[in-house]
């Protein structure tokens, strides 16, 4: 058995890279910081790959089942004998897989950014925060206990905040970063309370104990507590709330499209490939609990995933901002993953959904990162985010064009690209589990193909736009990551994922269901053809269709007015009807009460001043009458004896 002790270096290297670039970045050559960041990431990637290799192929299995290995653990904060936070490394199939995903995408993004951010003022800051993010994200996935997850959960949130707000002199970026942080923070409140309840009923934070399918944690807290659901169900629903926030599930998705204000590499890394799937990861991490202890919560996960998926896909069809389309597509794809988890059971054949969801997560990371980086490339070339201002770019940017097409095919689920395999398995799982959901997901698959190719055709075909400056292909440092990711998107589908990543660690057979795969591919093709018809050539068809849909189109275009509702709730209700009154109450009522006591004292003081009239006889009068009153009091009290 190899000790995986070196894995602790993964976050440690990144942390020091962050500190070093952060403190010394301003004082050295600006490109050096990029190099340092990339080199440390390269080291981390090598380590991750090595870990993955030794875990999956050499040491990880015991008795045919992948074990949870904790090579490193140190106590960080002790609450009580049983409740303590440890910082450690937990290796199991999903965390190792996530390490690979994170390090790969992050490395690509680092390399890409060396070129992309070249002219940026905050170059060192950017790389320092990238390191911080990668550190937090790796910390999150290798967490040994739910509190460690929470710690890094918050840290990825803040690095996301910092990176979205990279262009801090742009009010829109500032607003977007704020929104992202606050919305996820609100979701984290649910997560935190969920943790509190979990810790209260199980008395532990440790994942190993919590997720032991034969352990006591599964059976605890199953008594009905509140509104017909068990305590455990409530706890897991609250934890899922946190996941929904981070993974932009409806109705907490509103921050993600705005988060596109950040630099595009950031969107690729954080808001497409890694951080946003943290929610999925966490549900997967706690999957035994969900599956065995609180099936209701798991259903909720599935339904929320399905609904969000459809909802976001519909919106994506109407948007014109390239990055926003990708953002909604991300939301939609994460919905897929959530659904995959939601329709999964624990172990064996039932665990197909889990495995498919993880598989999709893996594939999605590759092709979505690719999409974003391509988008970055496009934006870099044309200096515009809106797809209506682009067209015919295939001539100018061949590499971007091809890689983008591969990614589109992958996301649309066209065989043999990676998306096909994972999406197919999710659909199979859904089909076996819940017919209704599977119908919904078929529709989403079609919509996905449509809107992605709508984007593809509009940008690369369509009209020949006249550009102010002729667009050019991106430099090599940006092109290589695209190529690498394109290769990954094309090929990762062939990985026999079921052998490695499953809910209970033992391999799952992934049978090929023709009755699901064929219709799915057909639907996708239909979507692509429709998009081709509408957008390959410049035409007024799309406009006609949208105007014929009228109000419906507008509602979808306006993203179902969710943002407006949020603004109404925050600005009008919380600000106007809570905060302002609280501030008013504090100043006018509480404070004035205190001032009033002082004023009253003064008032009395003025009122009684006539006693001191300066008249000698009045003094004597008060004296004599005061004496008489005192005498009466004395005599009165005497009677009691």
């Amino acid at each position: 058995m190899e000790s995986f002790g070196y894995t602790v270096l993964i976050p440690v290297i990144l942390f020091f890279s962050f500190i070093f670039i952060g403190l010394a970045g301003g004082k050295m050559n600006k490109y050096l910081s990029g190099i340092i960041g990339t080199v440390s990431l390269l080291t981390v990637t090598v380590l991750s790959y090595y870990t993955a290799y030794s875990y999956f192929f050499v040491y990880g299995k015991a008795g045919g089942v992948y074990q949870k290995i904790i090579p490193f653990q140190t106590e960080w904060l002790r609450f009580s004998e049983k409740l303590y936070i440890e910082m450690g490394v937990l290796l199991d199939p999903i965390s190792v897989m996530m390490l690979v995903v994170i390090s790969t995408v992050s490395l690509m993004v680092h390399i890409y950014s060396i070129g992309y951010m070249k002219e940026d003022m905050g170059y060192e800051r950017f790389f320092s925060f990238l390191s911080l993010f990668t550190f937090s994200m790796t910390g999150l996935v290798i967490a040994t206990n739910i509190f460690q997850t929470y710690v890094f959960w918050e840290l990825v949130g803040v690095s996301s905040y910092l990176l979205i707000g990279h262009y801090y002199d742009r009010p829109s970026a500032v607003a977007a970063s704020k929104k992202a942080f606050i919305v996820t923070r609100f979701a984290d409140l649910g997560f935190l309370i969920g943790i509190l309840i979990l810790s209260n009923i199980t008395g532990t934070f440790d994942f190993k104990i919590l997720t032991d399918p034969d352990g006591s944690a599964i059976t605890q807290g199953s008594s009905v507590a509140f509104m017909g659901l068990s305590v455990m169900t409530w706890a897991l629903i609250l934890v899922f709330m946190g996941c929904a926030g981070k993974s932009a599930m409806f109705p907490l998705h509103i921050w993600l499209p705005d988060a596109m204000e950040g630099p595009t590499p950031v969107s690729a890394l954080i808001h497409a490939a890694t951080m946003v799937v943290a929610g999925v990861y966490l549900v997967a991490r706690l999957f035994p609990l969900y599956a065995l202890s609180a099936p209701v919560a798991l259903h909720l996960v599935g339904y929320v995933g399905a609904f969000t998926s459809l909802f976001a896909a519909a919106i994506a069809c109407t948007q014109t901002d390239i990055k926003r389309i990708l953002a909604f597509s991300t939301i939609s794809q994460i919905g897929f993953m959530m659904l995959g988890l939601g329709v999964s059971g624990y172990g064996g054949e039932n665990g197909l959904g889990f495995m498919a969801s993880m598989f999709h997560l893996f594939n999605h990371a590759m092709f979505k990162a690719l999409l974003f980086l391509c988008a970055g490339s496009i934006i870099h070339a044309v200096h515009n985010n809106d797809m209506n201002f682009t067209g015919g770019l295939r001539k100018f940017m061949p590499v971007t064009h091809i890689t983008f097409l591969i990614a589109c095919l992958a996301i649309a689920g066209i065989p043999p690209f990676s998306g096909f395999f994972s999406k197919d398995e999710i659909l199979v799982a859904a089909f076996e589990h819940d017919k209704f959901l599977s119908v919904v997901m078929f529709a989403v698959a079609g919509l996905t193909a449509f809107y992605m190719f709508r984007l593809y055709f509009t940008v690369f075909w369509n009209k020949d736009t006249q550009y102010q400056k002729t667009p050019h292909e991106s430099p090599k440092v940006m092109a290589y990551p695209l190529m690498f990711l394109a290769a990954a998107s094309a090929l990762t589908g062939f990985i026999p994922f079921g052998n490695y990543v499953t809910a209970d660690g033992s391999a799952v057979e992934t049978p090929f269901h023709w009755n699901v795969a064929v219709p799915a591919v057909a639907v996708s093709f239909a979507g692509i053809l429709l998009a081709m018809k509408l957008y390959k050539k410049e035409s007024d068809m799309p406009a006609k269709i949208s105007s014929s849909l009228g109000e419906l189109y507008k509602i979808v275009y306006k993203k179902f007015y969710i943002d407006e509702i949020y603004i109404f709730v925050t600005k009008n209700i919380i600000f106007k009807y809570i905060s302002v009154p609280v501030a008013w109450f504090d100043r006018k009522v509480v404070d004035n009460t205190m001032n009033g006591i002082a004023a009253l004292t003064n008032f009395v003081s003025v009122k009684i001043k006539s006693f001191q009239s300066g008249q000698l006889q009045q003094y004597a009068y008060v004296m004599v009458s005061g004496m008489i009153v005192l005498i009466l009091i004395a005599l009165y009290f005497m009677k009691t004896f």
Partner: protein, 502 residues
């Protein structure tokens, strides 16, 4: 010589040194040196304490020393420390030292300023080392009074009003407190204790009748609670903090408000556990309101210091809330929160002071984009903000998590519901912190004149860096501090939980 007496002797020597100084430079240097020594010995005290503990000394209080003072009243000058006071003394050492550094530029009546500041800090040090309620009360008032002059003379805005209000409200609170401790004293003759006493250690061995506790627990709790910004007696805080000069805001929010929490824990809860369990719920409601109300109040403020003052109300409310849970984890969290809030609010006020000196306004509506011109201060401000909203890796997170986890272990639903409500403050905190950060530091520069601002100078950098190191150190490696405190909480919690029903 008892090491603790040094905490009182050094300030006296410093004051003498300041008195005989001739130039402003000499005054500053002697103040900084004196307070530097205080800082060093307060850090040393932690190690000395740990060494003594590891030597197997299991007394409740270490380094104790008692002098008879007023024998016929059995009033002693009794000092000693446990883990809680040691860590709060370290906090005080840090804050007063950085406070002196931030006041480097005080030009008007420099001598008097530093003397008042040092007298104030002496009161705080004395408060934390006292084991006798009489001396404790003495130092409590000693710490409050210089505040009047400090705010009144060197403050800004409606300083006279604010100073008077702050002083009177705190002294009014001490009226309640005084009656409370006299109540303890008068009822201290019980079985096992033949003589009236103010000594906390002696008092803790007595089981006071519940009727007595019922009367005096609220008095002591409110008395200290006012200093800890207990709703609805917190209104001195926004006015006071906003008018006070930088160092005073730092010390006041950073340390003085902690005396409230410490007193509640050490006197109210420790000495009157029955009443604490019985009447705790009233104050739980008040502190819950404090936490949420303070946070909501902070959202709409426009003055930087007001925002911070309301946030202090919220954070200090959390301290009292946690103490009232009479649970070891949350009490540990309470002490951690005191330290954490002390550090970060000191940092906040220091930074606000520095920014104010440059921009001459504290109104966030007229500011923006300072990140461009004052990168150092801006980054520090953001770090303070993150600490305040409970970012892991900084001190606030540790404290809050201890409080939430601990409070949620309570068996009664009422307490858990209160905990959930209090938890929600983390979101509201995020809202107002980010709002300020966005309005103040980010975005385009609103005022052309701001383009010519100069970033921090050496003493400003020194003071902020010290505070940030402390905040991050506590946030990254919380275990030793938390262990230091929690071991000392044992006697208190034992006393409380012996009587708990669950």
């Amino acid at each position: 010589m008892n090491i603790l007496t040094l905490f009182l002797i050094v300030p006296v020597l410093t004051v003498i040194a300041i008195l005989i100084s001739r130039t402003k430079e000499q005054i500053r240097v002697s103040a900084a040196v004196g307070m530097g020594i205080q800082l060093i010995q307060s850090i040393y005290l932690i190690f000395a304490y740990l060494a003594e503990r590891s030597r197997g000394n299991i007394d409740v209080m270490l380094f104790t020393k008692t002098w008879k003072w007023f024998e016929s009243m059995n009033i002693q000058f009794s000092i000693g420390v446990d883990g809680i006071s040691v860590s709060l003394i370290a906090l005080t050492g840090i804050v007063i030292f950085t406070g002196v550094l931030t006041s480097w530029h005080v030009d008007y009546l420099t001598k008097e300023f530093f003397i008042s500041l040092i007298v104030l800090s002496t009161g705080v040090f004395g408060f934390f080392i006292s084991l006798d309620l009489f001396t404790m009360f003495l130092f409590f008032e000693l710490a409050v009074i210089p505040m009047y002059l400090l705010i009144g003379i060197w403050g800004s805005g409606p300083k006279e009003y604010a100073a008077m209000k702050l002083t009177l409200m705190l002294m009014g609170a001490s009226a309640l407190l005084l009656v409370g401790i006299l109540g303890l004293y008068v009822n201290s003759v019980q079985t096992g204790n033949p003589e009236f006493t103010f000594n906390i250690v002696d008092l803790s061995r007595i089981d006071l009748p519940i009727e007595v506790q019922r009367v005096f627990f609220p008095m002591v709790f409110v008395g200290f609670g006012v200093l800890g910004a207990l709703f609805p007696f917190h209104t001195w805080s926004p006015d006071g903090h906003s008018s006070a000069p930088t160092a005073v805001s730092m010390l006041h929010a950073g340390v003085l408000m902690k005396m409230g929490g410490y007193g509640c824990l050490r006197v109210a809860m420790y000495l009157m556990p029955d009443a604490a369990n019985e009447m705790g719920w009233i104050f739980i409601i008040l502190t819950t309101i404090s936490v949420v109300y303070g946070a909501f109040g902070a959202i709409v403020q426009k003055d930087l210091k007001y925002i911070n003052a309301y946030s202090s109300v919220s954070h200090c409310g959390l301290v009292l809330f946690a103490i009232l849970m009479s649970d070891k984890i949350s009490s540990n969290g309470a002490v951690l929160q005191m330290i954490s809030h002390g550090l970060m609010t000191a940092l906040f006020f220091a930074l606000i002071g520095m920014i104010y000196e440059r921009t001459h306004t504290r109104d966030i509506r007229f500011m923006g984009g300072l990140m461009k011109v004052l990168p150092f201060l801006a980054v520090c401000y953001m770090i303070a903000g993150f600490a305040s909203l409970g970012l892991p890796g900084l001190s606030g997170f540790i404290a809050e998590m201890n409080i939430f986890v601990g409070a949620f272990q309570h068996s009664e639903t009422f307490y858990r519901v209160a905990t959930v409500i209090v938890c929600s403050s983390i979101v509201i905190t995020a809202v107002y912190i980010l709002r300020v950060v966005a309005a103040l530091l980010l975005g385009p520069i609103k005022n052309e004149e701001f383009n010519f601002l100069k970033d921090a100078v050496w003493f400003e950098k020194a003071s902020t860096v010290i505070l940030i190191i402390a905040i991050a150190g506590m946030g990254l490696a919380p275990l030793w501090l938390s262990e230091l405190i929690s071991e000392s909480l044992n006697p208190i919690i034992q006393k409380l939980s012996l009587l708990n029903i669950y």
